[in-house]
């Protein structure tokens, strides 16, 4: 097998990882601070994709229509995040995590039906926006420029989150709250609002990743369930709540899948769960995670 073939496959894996990272980073963020494993994250991603489509279809602005729709849909998802956090999750922080988990699962069920009822379950698609329609040449091989856009966006989100978590005062609070909630609360910082904003940020990222998927592939019912388990794999491998962990986790899952497809297509999917189980057995809190107190 020649170098260029492997390189091409490597790049496909990177593109896959970028999309996975986008979705998983929101999941990891909410888990890291709120300690809530949000099953509904995949559903927010699906809802974001459908809302982007509707906005794009309604405003019909040439060239920048998609970007405007992406922006607006992310805002809408942020609003939905506020609703979910304020009316549901906030009232459950004092409860056990199984109930929180189940509450987010209830949201999964409800959003599924909202999408079914609102969009009729048709599969939809948005054409790729200008200037990412074609491909660029990479060592003489074509590589879709939209994949670059996705990778770029993934990088922007990484840098933004890194800046937010490690370089701002808010970030200090976030890390402190993730470590010791009572302590931060005792310092007079309003934890509930911090949690709301973190959840909103997670929802916005979910909406954004949903929007980015729309031109990448197709939008259809069932895409929520399809992605959420893979995202669990990412955050579990990398370490829940850890930003570098999520990055590494998505790279591992993306590349394992891409090369799995090349060499043993029947087992590509099983490989991911094997890696996940192996990491959990050897290092339950993930590669970059810290052990639970």
């Amino acid at each position: 097998m020649s170098f260029d073939v492997l390189f091409n496959q490597f790049m496909s894996g990177i593109a896959r990882a970028a999309l996975l990272f986008l979705v998983a980073s929101g999941l990891s963020l909410t888990f890291g601070v709120l300690r809530v494993l949000n099953f509904a994250h995949g559903s927010l991603y699906m809802l974001g994709a459908f809302i982007t489509y509707t906005i794009w279809k309604t405003i019909l602005i040439p060239v920048v229509g998609f970007y405007v729709a992406t922006f607006l849909a992310s805002l809408v998802m942020g609003g939905i995040g506020i609703i979910i956090e304020f009316f549901l999750l906030r009232r459950l922080y004092a409860r056990g995590w199984p109930e929180q988990l189940l509450a987010t699962y209830a949201i999964v069920l409800i959003i599924t039906d909202i999408v079914k009822w609102g969009w009729g379950g048709e599969f939809l698609s948005i054409p790729r926006p200008i200037p990412f329609k074609g491909a660029v040449s990479l060592f003489g091989f074509p590589f879709p420029s939209y994949n670059f856009f996705v990778i770029l966006l993934g990088l922007i989100v990484v840098i933004f989150l890194w800046w937010l978590v490690y370089k701002t005062r808010l970030g200090d609070i976030i890390r402190a709250a993730a470590h010791d909630r009572e302590m931060v609360s005792a310092l007079g910082i309003p934890i509930p609002w911090l949690f709301t904003w973190i959840f909103v940020l997670g929802s916005i990222i979910a909406g954004l990743s949903g929007a980015v998927t729309a031109p990448f592939g197709s939008i259809a019912l069932g895409m929520d369930i399809e992605i959420i388990v893979e995202c669990f794999a990412v955050v579990v491998i990398g370490g829940m709540g850890s930003l570098p962990g999520t990055l590494l986790g998505s790279l591992i899952v993306g590349l394992v899948y891409a090369f799995g497809i090349m060499f043993k297509p029947e087992l590509a999917l099983a490989f991911i769960f094997m890696v996940m189980a192996a990491v959990l057995i050897i290092r339950p809190w993930g590669i970059f995670g810290r052990p639970e107190r």
Binding site: G121, F123, P127, L221, G222
Partner: protein, 432 residues
């Protein structure tokens, strides 16, 4: 807060109880008629005037939701039409719908609900092959006929043949065989092939049928690589690069729906469609979803979307469908419409709804359908329904791309030969 939550609970429970009642009242005709019928029957021996009940069981969840919905619309149009003309044998048709949620255990339970509680006379559905096979065992046990208008795995008619099952959608073998011939006709020089199929029953059977037929047509054909993306895959990039690395002469695929939309958009930037002749299930919903992104010159196969067979009967149906839904009918609606008319023809020929008599009547029955004429083969109850292939092209008449060079392959040309069917039966233990 607590009180508010309790209030919501009470409202919710009440609405669960009341809504079904209101809904039952909302459609007075089917709800009241059976109540009246026995009273009449007591007076006159007109017991048979009670409606014929058809249980429509579909998968209203996930990717199957859309097919089930548009299929139901086609089914309802046919039923309304027949009822407006006085029904079948003077009896109205009543449709009872059930949802399988695309889960096999729910499918079996709901079929039992239709058979035991609703006491339906016939079944139509479902969409997914898995739920179809699971319910086949059950309705066979209860000796009730089912017609499949969407689920098309060959296992239903061949491997796990049931005398109570009929099919009006080309099965995986017919569809793949016809598509392979079209691909071979278009690119006769192709010798090295790759395939990419969704990793489940339907895709596996399509791939097997393709391999069988292409080796028959091109004896020195070589299959370089089978790609098996999971059903509902969102990112095909790695599959596309893996296929292109093998440099095939042509690629066969049975991807469909949202999967095919995603594949097409992700393959286009690689110049995949310029380099490689490709055939897949480019039917109407896919072409509409893709819009301008549909790759012109690429080959498609399908089961009878309206533009593939623009005969007068079809065009009449197009008008009705547009009136009901404001959209063009796809093959899923067309097949469900045909399924109802097949049932009507069978019952009228048998002059009764008694199951065994209807089976006898349906065997060898010839129907003038929306997709032209087809016959039910007595051997395995497979309809000799046509398969369509074409090349994607623009037509100014429509806001989406359609096909040119359309071939209509009558089912007789691609049905699995009787000897081959019997060979499989020998293996699976079917005696007939």
């Amino acid at each position: 807060m607590k009180r508010f939550a309790v209030l919501i609970t009470i409202v919710f429970v009440l609405s669960l109880l009341v809504v079904p009642l209101v809904m039952a009242q909302g459609k007075p005709a089917p709800a009241k008629e059976p109540a009246k019928a026995p009273a009449k029957a007591a007076a006159k021996p007109a017991l048979s005037k009670e409606p014929i009940k058809i249980g429509a069981i579909y998968d209203f969840a996930g990717p199957c939701y859309m097919y089930s919905e548009t299929g139901m619309l086609g089914l309802r149009i046919a039923v309304e039409e027949i009822n407006a003309k006085g029904g079948i044998l003077g009896r109205k048709i009543d449709v009872v719908v059930r949802d399988t949620e695309a889960k096999v255990d729910v499918a079996v339970r709901e079929v039992k609900d239709l058979l035991l509680r609703e006491k339906v006379n016939f079944l139509i559905g479902p969409c997914s092959s898995g739920t179809g096979l699971a319910m086949q065992v059950v309705h066979t046990e209860y000796k009730t006929i089912r017609i499949s208008a969407i689920a098309n795995t060959e296992a239903q008619t061949v491997d796990k043949f049931s005398p109570y099952f009929f099919q009006v959608v080309p099965n995986t073998y017919m569809e793949a065989t016809a598509a392979t011939r079209y691909l071979n006709k278009k690119v006769p020089a192709a010798k090295k092939f790759c395939t990419i199929n969704p990793d489940y029953e339907f895709g596996r059977r399509q791939a097997a049928a393709f391999e069988e037929e292409i080796k028959r047509l091109v004896p020195d054909a070589e299959i370089l690589y089978h790609a098996w993306p999971k059903f509902g895959e969102r990112d095909y990039t790695a599959f596309i690069t893996a296929i292109m690395a093998k440099k095939p002469d042509a690629v066969h695929s049975s991807l469909f729906g949202g999967d095919l939309v995603a594949f097409t958009k992700q393959a286009a930037p690689y110049g995949f469609f310029e380099k490689t002749p490709f055939i897949a299930l480019y039917d109407l919903p896919v072409l509409i979803a893709l819009g301008p992104d549909a790759p012109e010159g690429t080959f498609g196969f399908a089961r009878g979307d309206f533009f593939q067979d623009p005969n007068p009967k079809m065009m009449e149906f197009v008008d009705k469908f547009k009136k009901a839904r404001g959209a063009y009918p796809d093959a899923w609606a067309v097949q469900n419409y045909d399924a109802v008319y097949l049932l009507k023809a069978g019952i009228e020929k048998a002059k009764t709804i008694e199951t065994e008599a209807v089976i006898k009547a349906l065997e060898g029955l010839s129907l003038d359908s929306l997709r032209g004429n087809f016959t039910i083969r007595p051997l395995d109850h497979m309809g000799s329904v046509p398969c369509y292939q074409g090349t994607i092209a623009t037509d100014p008449k429509y806001p989406f791309k359609v096909w040119k060079d359309i071939t209509r392959v009558p089912g007789e040309q691609v049905l699995r030969p009787e000897a081959s069917v019997r060979e499989i039966w020998k293996k699976t233990g079917v005696t007939r």
